[in-house]
Amino acid sequence: MRDKILNVIEKNSRIDIKELAVLLGYDEIDVANELKAMEEEGIICGYHTLIDWDKTSIEKVSAIIEVKVTPQRGQGFDNIAERIYKYPEVNAVYLISGGFDLLVSLEGKTLKEVSLFVSDKLSTLETVISTSTHFVLKKYKDHGTIIGAKKVDERETITL
């Protein structure tokens, strides 16, 4: 039941509980209880909206930054990750395998703002060895959704 609910709301968090229950063939009350339980257990961490900011008048610049750090004894990477994710302009922080350690996704108003964040705040953290900043030029697909794609029904008349 949980995975079915999650599969639906991952794509459409605005669906109301009654409709969700109809689609999945469950009782409304059961779905409501399950949703509440998953929120409390932290399985459902939030309900966000996917916005194509390029279509608005609001200027935004996003960047992906590779960060190499020195892990700290007893803390590993957790401490430094926390210091980074506490900045509100940071969207996501991942610990990853490969040539560097942390992948930081960031959003700012201007190139300058993002650059300043990297040079003043990120690079100056004690344990940070190096950073490599990649500015996002165009978003093609985000959260499984192709940006700007509108599906047109092209199916033609056929005897079936």
Partner: protein, 391 residues
Amino acid sequence: MRIPLSEEVVKLKPSGIRKFFDIVHEMKDAISLGVGEPDFDTPWHIRDEGIYSLEKGKTIYTSNSGLLQLRQEISKYLERKYNVSYDPTSEMLITVGGSEGIDVGLRAMLNPGDEVLIPQPSYVSYEPCTIIAGGKPVIIELKAENEFRLTAQELIDAITDKTRVLILPFPNNPTGAIMEESDLLAIAKVCVEKDIFVMSDEIYAELTYKGKHVSIASLPGMKERTILINGFSKAYAMTGWRLGYACGPKEVISQMTKIHQFCIMCAPTTSQYAAIEAIKNGDDDIAGMREAYNQRRRFLLNAFKEMGLECFEPYGAFYVFPCIKEFGMTSDEFATRFLEEEKVAAVPGTAFGDCGEGFLRISYAYSLDHLKTAMERLARFVEKLRKEQGR
């Protein structure tokens, strides 16, 4: 000038489905519930294999029967999913869609005057294909009270000493009906006793929402008297690739292959390469699409319930078949008014046989948002009709 025309072909009635859709294309704001093909694109990894085969220069014919590797994979798939095993080298033919299998199969099996039992409502091609093959269609009218399943008694009542083939179209277009194992066992018993051959059109097999689809070919005594028709169109959203297959006893398959080699040569090569990828690695795609269809199916049934429209619960394909008898008009009248007044096109049940009178075929190969709009309009239309009737 004398234009040569076959009288038999001229006499064939054109399908009743087209009429409404030609109107939809002209009418602004009109929406359709009529399309009988998936609204999904073919999954990318399958398309990618097709493209890759072109890049490698696989632009030549395959053998008449189709790529051996594809036949082998289909053989494994049928074993794995439906517990029936076919020899890929002698008991299988890759066709241009399931529909070619139906046509070629009937032509390979029938002699003039042979009777073919066709349960209706069903897909529109069985009757004309039987006639073109020189056979005589004998219609079995399925009943709403049986959830449009075929019963053993209905079958027995239709059999004569001229009966050769029973067409078994389940999961069914247009009703969405399925045949479960117990239903099929009863049919199989009659077929064995009366020595009837079966052409089982299982193109919607993967779209079953109650238990697992059972193929009649997997039942005792049936594999040797069944032509199994299936294909890639519905399961993998591959309608435009035109690829299906027929499996059965080698005596029939070899004759079918003969017709196929003269008329078609071989199924499209690109599609065959894509199909190998589909059948090997497509299980998750099927599961995802099936779940989406199932949600829409529940949505529609709930919408009918809320507007008080009678509809049995269908467990297959992507159609629902609500009953509109309460409005005292024919399916055609209902569909015409629904299109004119609410701008929604649905296919009258009679397009699939006379016994479809009083029903409407609604396809759910559409997005939920599309279905929501359509159901709002249907609810409004139903209310209006009831008011007109002073209810």
